[in-house]
C-alpha cells in the first residue's frame, strides 16, 4: 500500500529519494563481501555510493529551490493488530538540506580516509561501517514514521560503537566505544518510551510523523501524556547530541580515527538529536511550556559547561569535541525559544556541519603530520602545512562567529531570535560567544604559530586529505550566505517554505555579536601570542582543578553508577550465568552424555548382542547342519540307518 500526499504529482528524482538512503547499505554489503578482492580495497564502492547520493541530494534540493512541494510515500512493512508499521519517505525542504549535508560530509570523509586510513589493519571493514552509518543517518533523515527513524537511530549507535572502537587493540579505545554506546543507550530508552507514549496518545493508529504532528494538540489527546512524550523524546536528544548529563561520551569518543570524529561527532550523528526535536516540533509546541523550558535549561548548562571545559584541553580533538557539545547546546537552546528559534537552529546545524567537519579533518591532517594529538607537541605548523593552516583558519573563524563566514550568520540568527524577549538567554549566548572565540584562538595559536615543540618532521598531507579540506572550506565560505538576511535568506525558503519574520539584519545585535567574537580573539591573542608553559588556564587554582576533572562528573558516574551495578547486579548476573545457566547447559550435556553412554551400552550389549546372537545362532545351526554333508559315506549310512529305524517305529506304531 503506497500512500502519497496531495503533492503526489511530483515527478522525477524526488520520487526516488529513498534510493539515496539505500545506496550506502548496498555498498556496505558489497564492501563486506567483495571489498578485500577489489583494487582500492572497497573504498571505491563507498565513495561511489555516497557520491551518487550527493548528486541525487543536490537534485532533490534543486527541486525545492525551484519551489517544488513536499513529497511523501510509504509501503507497509508489517502490522501489529490494527497498527500498521510502514517504511516510507517524507521529503520536504528540511530533508533535502539534511541529505545534502550528510552526503557531502560523508563524501569528504570517505575521500579523506583514503589517505588517513591508508595501510590500516582493518581498512575494508572501516569502509563497511562507514557506509552502514551513512545509510542509517540518511534513513533517519528521510524517515516518515517514528519506528523507521528509531531503526536508523539504533543502527547509528551501533556503527558509532564500531567506529570509535576501530583500533580496539588499545583498551582505552574499546572502553571509549562502550562508554559511547552505553551512554547514548541511556538516552535511547526514554526516547523509545517517548515514541510509544506518542503513538498511544494519538490513539494508537499511526507512527507517521506527519500525522502525529497533526493529531497532537487536537482534542481528545491527553496534554500531560504529550508533555511526557516530549520530555522523553528529548531524552534521546540528550543522549545522542551529548547534552548534560549525558555529554561524557563525546570527548572520549575522540579515541576513534579522526575521519570518524568528523563524520559522526561533527556533522551527522550528534546532529540527529537536534534534528529529532525539530522534526517533532509540533509535539513540543503542544506540550506544556515547561518542557521547552527544561530543554532550554539543559542546553544552557551544557553550552556553558562545555565551553569552559574546552579551555583546559590540550588534545586538539578534545577541544573540538567540547566545542561541538557547546555548539549543539546552542542549537538546543534555540529550539527552546520558539519556531523562529527552531529555524535558526536548523540553519546553525547546517552550517556547523561543514565547518566542524572541516576543523576535525584539519586536526586529523595535523595529527597525521606530527603523530600526536597533543597541542603541546605542535607549533609553527603554518609554515610547513599551508593548505591545512588556511583551511583551518577559515573553519576557526566560522566557529568563532566572525563575519562574513557561516558561523556569524547562524550565530546572528541565534541572537536575533533570542533577543526577542529572552534577555537571560541572550546574555548567556554572548558570554558563550566570547569564550568560544577565546578557546578557538588558543587552539589555532598553539597549533600553527610559534616554534615546533616536538621532534616530528611535519609535512603537508596528501591530496586525498587536503582536497576535502579545501572543498569544505569553500562550502563554509559559501553556505553562510544562504541564511544571511541581506542575501535573502533563501535557506528558509527552501527548508520551511516560509519566510520567517526576524531574518533581517538587526544592526545592534550583529554589532554585539561581532564585538563578542573580536573580544574573544583579541584576549586569546594576547594570552597565547607566546607559548605559555604551564598553560594559564591551569593556573586558576580550584577553578582549574574542577575543569580538568570535568566537574568530577565522570567520577560520579563511575563510582555512583557503574561500580555499584558492576559489583552487584553484574556480578550477580555473572554468577547466575556461570552457575545456573551454564550449570543447566553443562548439566544437560552431562545428562546427554550419560544417556549416550547408556544407549551405547544398550547398543553394544542388546542390539549388537542380538545381531551377533543371530550370527551365533546361525553358526550354531550351520554347525549342526553341516553334518548333513560331511562327504563321509559312512556318516551318510548312519543317517540312513537311523532314518530306517525311525520310520520302522513310526510305521509299526501307526499300523
Amino acid at each position: 500500500m503506497v500512500a502519497e500526499t496531495a503533492d503526489a504529482a511530483a515527478s522525477g528524482i524526488i520520487r526516488y529519494t529513498w534510493v539515496i538512503a539505500l545506496l550506502p547499505f548496498i555498498s556496505a554489503a558489497l564492501i563486506l563481501f567483495f571489498g578485500k578482492r577489489v583494487p582500492g580495497k572497497g573504498s571505491g564502492f563507498g565513495i561511489l555510493a555516497v557520491g551518487a547520493g550527493f548528486v541525487m541530494s543536490l537534485a532533490v534540493l534543486w527541486h525545492f529551490v525551484q519551489g517544488g512541494g513536499i513529497y511523501a510515500s510509504s509501503v507497509s512493512w508489517f502490522s501489529v493488530g490494527s497498527f500498521e508499521i510502514e517504511l516510507g519517505q517524507y521529503v520536504d525542504g528540511l530533508t533535502a538540506v539534511m541529505l545534502v549535508v550528510v552526503t557531502a560530509v560523508s563524501l569528504c570523509v570517505h575521500v579523506y580516509s583514503l589517505g588517513y586510513m591508508h595501510g590500516d589493519v582493518r581498512f575494508t571493514w572501516f569502509y563497511v561501517v562507514l557506509s552502514l552509518f551513512t545509510g542509517a543517518m540518511l534513513n533517519v533523515v528521510i524517515a516518515d514514521n517514528l519506528i523507521q527513524l528509531l531503526v536508523g537511530w539504533e543502527i547509528m549507535g551501533v556503527c558509532s560503537y564500531l567506529l570509535i572502537g576501530h583500533w580496539y587493540e588499545e583498551k582505552e579505545n574499546s572502553d571509549a566505544a562502550i562508554k559511547a554506546f552505553l551512554t547514548t543507550r541511556v538516552g535511547d530508552v526514554p526516547f523509545m518510551f517517548g515514541i510509544f507514549a506518542l503513538i498511544f496518545a494519538t490513539g494508537f493508529t499511526t507512527s507517521n510523523i506527519h500525522e502525529i504532528s497533526e493529531l497532537v494538540g487536537g482534542p481528545g489527546v491527553s496534554a500531560s501524556l504529550v508533555s511526557a512524550a516530549a520530555l522523553l523524546l528529548f531524552g534521546g536528544t540528550i543522549g545522542k547530541s551529548a547534552q548534560f548529563p549525558l555529554h561524557v561520551w563525546l570527548p572520549d569518543a575522540m579515541a576513534g580515527p579522526t575521519p570518524v570524529s568528523a563524520l559522526i561527532h561533527a556533522a551527522t550523528m550528534v546532529a540527529a538529536g537536534v534534528y529529532l526535536v525539530g522534526r517533532m516540533y509540533q509535539v513540543f509546541l503542544a506540550a506544556d511550556p515547561m518542557v521547552l523550558q527544561v530543554v532550554g535549561i539543559v542546553g544552557g548548562i551544557t553550552m556553558f559547561g562545555a565551553a569552559l571545559l574546552a579551555l583546559v584541553q590540550f588534545d586538539i580533538k578534545k577541544v573540538l569535541a567540547y566545542s561541538t557539545i557547546s555548539q549543539l547546546a546552542y542549537m538546543v537552546i534555540l529550539m527552546s525559544v520558539g519556531e523562529a528559534g527552531r529555524n535558526a537552529a536548523f540553519f546553525h546545524l547546517f552550517t556547523h556541519a561543514f565547518f566542524k567537519a572541516l576543523l576535525f579533518l584539519g586536526a586529523g591532517s595535523v595529527i597525521h603530520a606530527v603523530h600526536s594529538n597533543d597541542m603541546r607537541d605542535m607549533g609553527g605548523l603554518r609554515r610547513t602545512m599551508p593548505v591545512t593552516f588556511w583551511t583551518f583558519v577559515i573553519g576557526s573563524a566560522a566557529l568563532a562567529g566572525l563575519p562574513p563566514l557561516a558561523g556569524f550568520w547562524s550565530k546572528d540568527e541565534l541572537l536575533v531570535a533570542a533577543s526577542e524577549g529572552h534577555e537571560v538567554v541572550f546574555t548567556l549566548l554572548l558570554v558563550a560567544a566570547v569564550i568560544t572565540a577565546f578557546y578557538t584562538t588558543r587552539m589555532v595559536l598553539m597549533t600553527f604559530f610559534g616554534e615546533l615543540r616536538s621532534d616530528a618532521h611535519p609535512h603537508e598531507s596528501p591530496a586525498s586529505m587536503t582536497g576535502p579540506l579545501v572543498a569544505l572550506a569553500g562550502a563554509t565560505l559559501a553556505v553562510g550566505f544562504l541564511g544571511a538576511g541581506p542575501a535573502g535568506a533563501v535557506f528558509f525558503d527552501w527548508v520551511f517554505l516560509e519566510h520567517p519574520e526576524a531574518v533581517e539584519l538587526v544592526p545592534w545585535v550583529a554589532g554585539l555579536s561581532i564585538a563578542a567574537a573580536v573580544l574573544g580573539v583579541v584576549v586569546g591573542w594576547f594570552v597565547y601570542r607566546r607559548y605559555r608553559d604551564p598553560d594559564p588556564t591551569l593556573e586558576m587554582g580550584g577553578f582549574s582543578r574542577i575543569l580538568v576533572n570535568k566537574y568530577y562528573l565522570d567520577d560520579v558516574y563511575l563510582k555512583g553508577i557503574v561500580h555499584p551495578i558492576r559489583d552487584t547486579v553484574s556480578a550477580g548476573v555473572y554468577w547466575f550465568n556461570q552457575h545456573v545457566l551454564d550449570g543447566v547447559v553443562n548439566g544437560a550435556a552431562r545428562v546427554t552424555r550419560r544417556a549416550a553412554s547408556a544407549i551405547g551400552w544398550f547398543d553394544r550389549t542388546v542390539i549388537d548382542g542380538a545381531v551377533n546372537g543371530a550370527g551365533q545362532v546361525t553358526r550354531g545351526f550351520s554347525g549342526v547342519l553341516r553334518f548333513i554333508q560331511t562327504g563321509n559315506v559312512q556318516w551318510y549310512a548312519v543317517a540312513l540307518f537311523v532314518g530306517v529305524i525311525a520310520l520302522t517305529i513310526v510305521f509299526v506304531r501307526i499300523a
Binding site: 553341516r626 554333508q629 560331511t630 562327504g631 563321509n632 559315506v633 559312512q634 549310512a637 548312519v638 540307518f641
Partner: protein, 100 residues
C-alpha cells in the same frame, strides 16, 4: 521242527553286525565285507521263509541276490582300487571330496 523266529533273529543279528561294520570300519574293503554280511542276512531270511512256506520263490530270489552281490563286489573293488591308485589311500574318512 525249527522255530522260525530263531532264524529271523539270527538274520537280524547278522544284519546288525553288518551295519556296525559299515559304519565303524575305516578301510573301504572292510566296508564291502560288512555289506556282504548284510546281504547274507537277507538271504537267510529269504531262504527261511521259502522253507517255511514251501514256496521256491524265496530260494530263486536268494540266488539272484547272490549274483547281484557278486557283481557288486566286483565293481566295488574295482572302484576301491581306482581310488587307491588316485589317492594312495582307501581310508573312507580321507575320501571326502563331496564335503561341502
Amino acid at each position: 521242527m525249527i522255530r522260525l523266529p530263531l532264524i529271523l533273529i539270527f538274520s537280524a543279528f547278522l544284519f546288525s553286525a553288518g551295519v556296525y561294520g559299515v559304519l565303524a570300519r575305516r578301510n573301504a574293503v572292510m566296508v564291502l565285507m560288512a555289506i556282504e554280511l548284510m546281504l547274507n542276512a537277507v538271504n537267510v531270511n529269504l531262504v527261511a521263509f521259502a522253507a517255511q512256506l514251501g514256496d521256491i520263490t524265496g530260494q530263486v530270489f536268494a540266488l539272484f541276490v547272490i549274483a547281484v552281490a557278486a557283481a557288486e563286489v566286483g565293481i566295488g573293488l574295482a572302484i576301491v582300487i581306482l581310488i587307491f591308485r588316485n589317492r594312495a589311500t582307501i581310508n573312507v574318512d580321507e575320501v571326502n571330496l563331496l564335503k561341502w
